[in-house]
Structure formats: structure tokens, C-alpha cells
Amino acid sequence: MSGLKVKNPVYPIIGIAAGVVILVTGLVTADKITSLYYLAAVWLLFLCFGYYRSCLAVIPFALVSGAVFCAITYAVSKSVTSTVAAANRILAVCVAVLPGLGLSPVLLVRNLSQLRTPRMVTLGMMIALSFFPLLKREVSRVREAMKTRGAGSVLNPKIFYRAFLIPLTVRLVNISDTLALSVETRGFCANDKNYTVYREVKLQIKDIVFAVLLAAGSVTAVIL
């Protein structure tokens, strides 16, 4: 996932708003063929703004899930219009995740902190967004420990409970305790006292250009 991050992504809040706008526009215009052109144009827009890794990464998922979804829809409805609509919906989801895929959690948290979002929310978001690799590693470590001890198959509920769930939960509790201590020693507190952001995320001209182009495209897609 970290390989998909963009070096200079669009302004984080604009990126998140863009994802919502793309998805809503895609769903609203899903029945029309213009939706397909709109989504293709937005995909190209992201490509131009440096999201080429994310843009390429969603293609396999879009193809596979789109094909399965369209096949099932056609089998159920026997309607080409419904099938096109289903394809547009899947594509809308795939394009809408692009700003999220390319955005570093730190930038989003910094941006939200600048906007005076409650500390509790930004802290929790930071942990929830940036802990995936660590937690993934913990899960694989517990699995490895199971293999080393010859604990048996994880499909056996008793083994799953005793040899996988309990150690994983213990590790999670320990990680959480250490993290809480670390956060507290760095001066974070739950109540919203005045704080500053060391590296501020600044709005640039390219962000405004991106927002204007996306808004214009979305309005055009809805009108047409």
C-alpha cells in the first residue's frame, strides 16, 4: 500500500471530497453512457496529477469485479442498460478510491489538525490508518508461531481460538498500551488544548485547478 502513495498529492481534504463527489456522480449518472466517459476522464485527471501507481493498481480489481458483477447483473436482469449501470457503479467505486490510495495518512492528519478537528479524532484516525502494516505483520507472526509449535489447522475452531485469537489479542493489548504510553510521553492529551502543526499542508494552485476541473466534469456529467 505504501508504494501507491503519491509524493505530492492533492490537498487532503480536497482529495477526500473528490472521492465522495466522484462516487456520488458515478452513482447518479450510472444509467447513462456519459458516466463511463466521465469516469475515464477523472481517471486520466488523476493520472496527470501524479497518481499513476494508484491508477494502474485499480485496473485489475476493476476488470475482475466489473466482469463478475456485470455477468451476474446480465444473468439476473437480461438488460444491457442494467449491465452498463452495474459496470459504471463498480468503476465509480474504483475511481473514487484513487485519492485515498495515493494519500499518506500523515498528510491527512496534519491537514485535519490545521482545521482544528478534535485531537481525539485525528489521533484515532492516524492509528487506524497507519497501523495496517504493523497489524498485518502481527497476524502473520502469530500464524508463524502456530506453524512453529505445530498447533494445527486454523480452520479448527478450538485451535483458532486458543492458538490464534488469544495470542493476537494479547499482542494487540500490549501494542495499544505501549502506544498509549508513547503518545502520552510526547505530550498528547485528549482535551483540545491549543496546539500547532510542525509541517503544515498548504493549499497550492494545482489543488485548486484539480478541484475546478473535477467540479466542472461532475456538473457536466450530471447535466448531460
Binding site: 481525539m120 488469544i166 489479542t169 494487540l172 495499544s176
Partner: protein
């Protein structure tokens, strides 16, 4: 020194908390202990213990308590592991057009298990909502509908728990909130798809209502099993001293 004065302050605290002998209010207890303090200076720390115990007792009676950093961190870590284990959901998204509630079925266990452990540790009103916000914020980038669903379900559950159980002090309250967290998204998804979403998904439920009911029952069952397992794990870890209050 009379027999009563020979009792240590710790004994008095225990008696006060158990309600066996001291039936007076907190202020009476404090006055009595301040007398002890004047008699014997060494008992100062024990007086502090008593004050802390009274504070804890008061906090237990409260419905709404402030969250500490460690609570937020624990809830965030649990939300992250919940999201991570729910990563199987995109694999079944295409099947949603043919099987109603399949996404909820495959994520039902994880969405009950980890929030149950979180709520067993952080038994404060608002914990469920915080978990739903943290999971929802990540989902916002993938699907705004899921974000709205999470927020609405979180709020509804908090409201129900406050009305019915006055907080998460009882395990029943934890079970209630967690077991309903995932199943409640089924009606939301149906209404959402009916209004602005995919008509194929609602058509699936309308064409085979018996299958939709069976799937809803299966989702409820899986969520209940997940909640029970989560509560069992939390109890076991509490007994082992891993989870502290």
C-alpha cells in the same frame, strides 16, 4: 485506642465499598478519615487511597465518563484490526447482486469480535460510536454510504445502550451493542440501494425474500457468535491480568 480506631483505613475503604458497615455518605467518611489523619500522620497515603476509591465509586455511578488517551488508542487499534480482517469483503462484492447480505455475512464475525473486546476494556458510553467513527473514516474513502451507515448505526446503538442499560457496565450491554452492530447495516443498505444505489441488490431481496430472511438470520447468528467469543476472550484476558481497567 478503641477497637474502631484500630481498624486500618484500608479496611474502612473495603467496608465502605461493600456497604457492609459504613452507611453514611461520602462526606461523613472523609471527615472521619481526616480525624484519623490528625491522630496519625502516617495514614496520609491511605487517605489518598480512600479518596481515589471514592472517586472510582463515583465514576462507576456516572453514565458519561471522559475518554483518556489510552482508551482512544485502544479503540483505534481495535478499529484498525477490525478493518484489516474485513479486507475479505471486496472479494464478495460481485456476489452482492445475487446473494443478499453476503458482505455482512463474511464480515459479521470480525465486526463483533474485536469491538466486543474493545468495549469490554473501555466500558464508557461513546466507545461504540468511536469505534464506528474510526472504521467509518477509513471506509469514507472507499464508500461514503458505508461511512454514513457506520455513523448512524453507532449513534443508534449508543442511544439504545444508554436507554436500556445505562452504559456498558454489564456484559449484556456489550453483547447487545456488538451483536447488533453488523446486522443493523442490512436494513440501512436495503434502504440506501432502494433510494440511490443499485436496484439489482434490492431486486435480489425482493425476488427471493425467504433467502433474504435466511441471510439476515445467518448474519445475526454470526454476529452473536463473534460477540460471545469476544466477551469470552476479554474475560479470559482480564482474569490473566492482560486487560486492566
Amino acid at each position: 485506642m478503641s477497637e474502631e480506631k484500630e481498624k486500618t483505613i484500608a479496611d474502612e475503604v473495603n467496608e465502605y465499598l461493600s456497604g457492609a458497615e459504613i452507611t453514611g455518605n461520602i462526606n461523613t467518611g472523609r471527615e472521619k478519615l481526616s480525624k484519623d489523619k490528625s491522630v496519625d500522620g502516617k495514614k496520609e497515603t491511605e487517605t489518598c487511597d480512600f479518596a481515589n476509591a471514592v472517586k472510582q465509586e463515583k465514576a462507576k455511578e456516572k453514565i458519561f465518563c471522559a475518554f483518556k488517551i489510552k482508551d482512544i488508542v485502544f479503540l483505534a487499534v481495535m478499529s484498525a484490526i477490525t478493518l484489516l480482517t474485513c479486507a475479505v469483503m471486496p472479494l464478495v462484492i460481485p456476489l452482492q447482486a445475487s446473494v443478499f447480505g453476503i458482505a455482512q455475512l463474511v464480515t459479521g464475525f470480525q465486526l463483533s469480535l474485536f469491538p466486543a473486546i474493545a468495549l469490554m476494556k473501555v466500558r464508557k458510553v461513546g466507545s461504540m460510536f468511536i469505534v464506528s467513527v474510526f472504521t467509518g473514516i477509513v471506509q469514507l474513502m472507499m464508500s461514503p454510504a458505508m461511512f454514513v451507515n457506520n455513523i448512524v448505526v453507532g449513534l443508534v446503538l449508543e442511544l439504545l445502550v444508554v436507554i436500556l442499560f445505562r452504559g456498558y457496565k454489564k456484559d449484556r450491554a456489550v453483547f447487545f451493542a456488538v451483536a447488533l452492530y453488523n446486522p443493523l447495516s442490512l436494513p440501512f443498505n436495503y434502504v440506501y440501494n432502494k433510494i440511490i444505489g443499485n436496484e439489482i441488490m434490492t431486486a435480489v431481496a425482493e425476488k427471493a425474500p425467504w433467502l433474504a430472511v435466511a441471510m439476515a438470520a445467518a448474519v445475526c447468528a454470526v454476529a452473536a457468535i463473534g460477540a460471545l467469543v469476544g466477551i469470552k476472550i476479554a474475560r479470559e484476558l482480564k482474569k490473566a491480568g492482560v486487560i486492566k481497567k
